[in-house]
């Protein structure tokens, strides 16, 4: 029997790593990867509790999460491409037109 707390801690670690990556990396693509990590950690949480409580709702929700992640990645990367085309950079430090 794996204690649920272990699962929680694991997903927390993953989440933290992903967050650090989002906040730290300059490359926009790497930032998106960090976001994917965070989503995955949430998914692990869902599945773990679904298993513990025997309710399939967790798994269904995970499916939806994956769907949303897919859509978000598609649009996000499209934005990065468009950004690259207009600004010739994917360094998030250099993308500060909204500054002010």
């Amino acid at each position: 029997m794996i204690p649920t707390s272990h699962m929680l801690v694991f997903s927390l670690i993953l989440f933290t790593i992903g967050m650090v990556g989002v906040l730290t990396r300059r490359n926009a693509i790497i930032v998106m990867m960090g976001i994917e990590l965070m989503l995955n950690s949430a998914n692990i949480n869902f599945i773990a509790f679904s298993r513990q409580l025997g309710d399939l709702a967790g798994q269904v929700f995970s499916i939806f999460t994956i769907v949303v992640a897919a859509g978000e990645v598609a649009v996000g990367l499209a934005i990065i491409l468009a950004l690259y085309r207009n600004k010739d950079t994917i360094n998030v430090d250099e993308v500060n037109i909204m500054k002010g």
Partner: protein, 670 residues
């Protein structure tokens, strides 16, 4: 007739109103008719009233006509009653004499004026003022209380001003009118003080109660003396005694009939009338009487000396009037009140005659008044000469003329009082005779000094002017017989003025009786002799040897200059009183300017200062607040703007931090 007494002064008021309001549009005949008509009517009513009065028993000769209440009596609190004044007209023997003189002589002068002022465009205005004057004078003499009398007193002052300044466009006339009015007012101040003191002591202003109280001994002596002196000062102003006589010679600038009526016969006698009316009061104060007598005598002498050296025919007559008024006050002062009234009456006759006669001369010579340019008019103006002759002998005191009787009465009583005063009065009589003879000489006798142009146009007066002259001449000659003194057989005359006036006038204790008839005859003879001698001397001097007169003038050039310049009294007054008064006025003006302007400037400066404060407040506080708001927002926005870094990761950090806060909150809540 008692109930209609009020009509006597009111009828001329009607004339005044008619002529005043529509006289401008009426033909001259109508104006004259209205004016003379109302005066004639007043005369007739006066005659009727006096007749009725005469029909009463001697000690009851008093008619009282209380027409209406003017100031109702109110309770002044503490048992005192406030001033109550009624429109009260009374008729007693004294006012009877006065109204007859005023209306009679007034009527004659009104008629004369029709001719004299015939070509003047302001005809209607002249008669309006003249009627108003008649009304005011009648109010004065018929007034039964100080209040009503004062209305008339002021009213005649006003009319004098209006009529002296009749030719108002001439600065001399306007100035003379003003001088008369202002000098009058100075006297009136004293008059009012006296009147109000009487009210304070006796609680009423009516003559009868006051005089009865005074005779009964009420009122301390000093109060009565003070009042008497105050009232006399008022009389000095009105009747041109020293020191307030200066207006009368200047008043000659007005038309000659005005001079005759107002400044010879009636207005100037108001002071004398007032003193005689209040004779019981004056009798209680020998001090006051002495002052009256001395002032009268001094004025008489003083004015007579000035009259000696004047060249203007009217000025001679003016100073003569002042002098004769001095005689009247002298008479009152020595206790001969009826003598004063008698002289008032005869003076009215012959002085009016002389003035109107001089008016005829002036009219004939086309308004030439300088006697040095006249002469030899005897043959040019025969009627005028004749009536003037009558006036001349009357004023000089030629035996059995009116002037003789009245002047002698005064001289006799003056002698009884003090021989010194008699000497002054007698000498003045000599001077009077002399200067009148001089006037006759320069005007009518000798060779003419007129220029040719004037000589050609000399003409005698028209009938309308002639008839009053003749009437007055008759009165001047025969009027004296109305009061023949006892020494000359007065007891056998059916009427003596002295007897008639007895109920109205008081008699001082030291009055007549202590003088022998012989002394009286002696004095009478002396004064007649003096008069006739002077007249003969003057006649010779001016008719036969006029060059001698010129030589005398040269010899006494110094004295002549002093007299001609009337002792420089006007200049003295100007320097002492007028200039200082102007100085006071200017000081008050500058004070006013400084204080008032100072205040205004102060307010202005305060306002400006306050406005600076306001500016400061507005700029720094109000604008400051506004600017502060703006600056705060800008600064804070500048600071807050930095939140929007534009860096995605800083936004993400913010989100994370928010998540942390939410977790904490959630923990806290649960």
């Amino acid at each position: 007739m008692t109930a209609y007494l009020w009509l006597i002064p009111v009828l001329p008021v009607i004339g005044f109103l008619i002529n005043g309001l529509i006289g401008r549009r009426l033909p001259k005949r109508a104006v004259a008719g209205v004016a003379c008509g109302v005066v004639l009517a007043s005369f007739v009513l006066s005659a009727l009233a006096v007749t009725e009065l005469a029909g009463m028993p001697e000690d009851q000769r008093y008619m009282e006509n209380r027409v209406a209440t003017w100031v109702p009596a109110v309770d002044a609190g503490g048992g005192q009653k406030g001033l109550a004044v009624d429109w009260l007209f009374t008729l007693d023997p004294l006012s009877a004499v006065m109204i007859l003189i005023v209306t009679g002589v007034g009527f004659l002068i009104h008629v004369y004026s029709i001719g004299y002022m015939g070509e003047d465009p302001g005809f209607w205005r002249y008669f309006t003022y003249l009627n108003l004057f008649m009304a005011m004078m009648l109010t004065l003499v018929l007034g039964g209380s100080f209040a009503v009398m004062f209305v008339g007193w002021e009213g005649v002052g006003l009319c004098s001003y209006l009529l002296i300044g009749y030719f108002y466009w001439k600065p001399d006339c306007a100035d003379a009118g003003r001088k008369a009015f202002i000098t009058n007012r100075i006297g009136d101040l004293a008059f009012v003080i006296g009147t109000l003191t009487l009210f304070a002591w006796f609680g009423t202003l009516e003559f009868r109660p006051i005089l009865q109280a005074v005779t009964a001994g009420q009122g301390p002596a000093w109060v009565l003396t003070a009042v008497a002196i105050c009232l006399f000062i008022g009389a000095c102003g009105k009747s041109a005694q020293i020191p307030l006589y200066v207006w009368l010679p200047d008043a000659m600038a007005g038309p000659t009939p005005v001079s005759a009526l107002i400044h010879a016969a009636t207005m100037v006698t108001a002071g004398v009338y007032m003193v005689c009316r209040l004779s019981p009061l004056y009798v209680m104060s020998p001090t006051a009487l002495t002052i009256v007598a001395v002032t009268g005598a001094a004025t008489a002498l003083f004015a007579a000396t000035i009259g000696l050296a004047q060249n203007d025919i009217k000025k001679v007559l003016a100073y003569s009037t002042v002098s004769q008024l001095g005689y009247m006050f002298l008479a009152a002062g020595v206790g001969a009140f009826s003598g004063a009234i008698f002289h008032l009456m005869t003076h009215a006759f012959f002085k009016a005659l002389l003035f109107l006669g001089s008016g005829a001369v002036i009219h004939a010579l086309h308004h030439e008044q300088d006697m040095m340019k006249m002469g030899g008019l005897k043959k040019h103006l025969p009627t005028t000469y004749k009536v003037f002759f009558c006036g001349w002998i009357a004023i000089s005191g030629f035996p059995f003329t009116s002037g003789f009787f009245s002047k002698d009465e005064i001289l006799w009583r003056a002698f009884q009082w003090s021989p010194v005063i008699w000497a002054v009065a007698a000498f003045t009589a000599v001077l009077t005779a002399f200067y009148m003879t001089r006037l006759m000489g320069l005007t009518f006798w000798g060779r003419t000094r007129m220029d040719h142009h004037t000589e050609e146009h000399v003409h005698e007066v028209p009938g309308v002017m002639k008839r009053p002259l003749i009437t007055l001449a008759v009165l001047a000659l025969l009027g004296g017989f109305l009061s023949v003194p006892a020494a000359l057989g007065g007891h056998w005359m059916p009427f003596t003025l002295e007897h008639w006036l007895e109920p109205s006038l008081a008699h001082p204790e030291h009055a007549e009786g202590h003088g022998s008839a012989a002394a009286e005859y002696g004095l009478m003879f002396l004064s007649s002799a003096l008069a006739m001698l002077t007249m003969w001397f003057g006649y010779n001097l001016y008719h036969k040897t006029p060059e001698k007169a010129a030589a005398w003038k040269q010899r006494f050039a110094g004295i002549y200059e002093v007299l001609k310049n009337k002792y420089w009294v006007d200049e003295l007054y100007d320097a002492v009183v007028i200039q200082n008064f102007y100085r006071l006025c200017r000081a008050a003006y500058s004070l006013d300017v400084r204080v008032v302007d100072g205040l205004v400037h102060l307010v202005r400066n305060l306002t400006i200062g306050f406005s600076y404060l306001s500016v400061f407040w507005d700029t720094w506080v109000v604008d400051g607040l506004v600017n502060l708001t703006g600056r705060t927002i800008r600064t804070s926005s500048g600071a807050l703007r930095k939140v929007q870094t534009g860096f995605i990761q800083s936004y993400a950090s913010a989100m994370v931090f928010g998540m942390f806060v939410l977790i904490c909150l959630y923990m806290y809540v649960s």
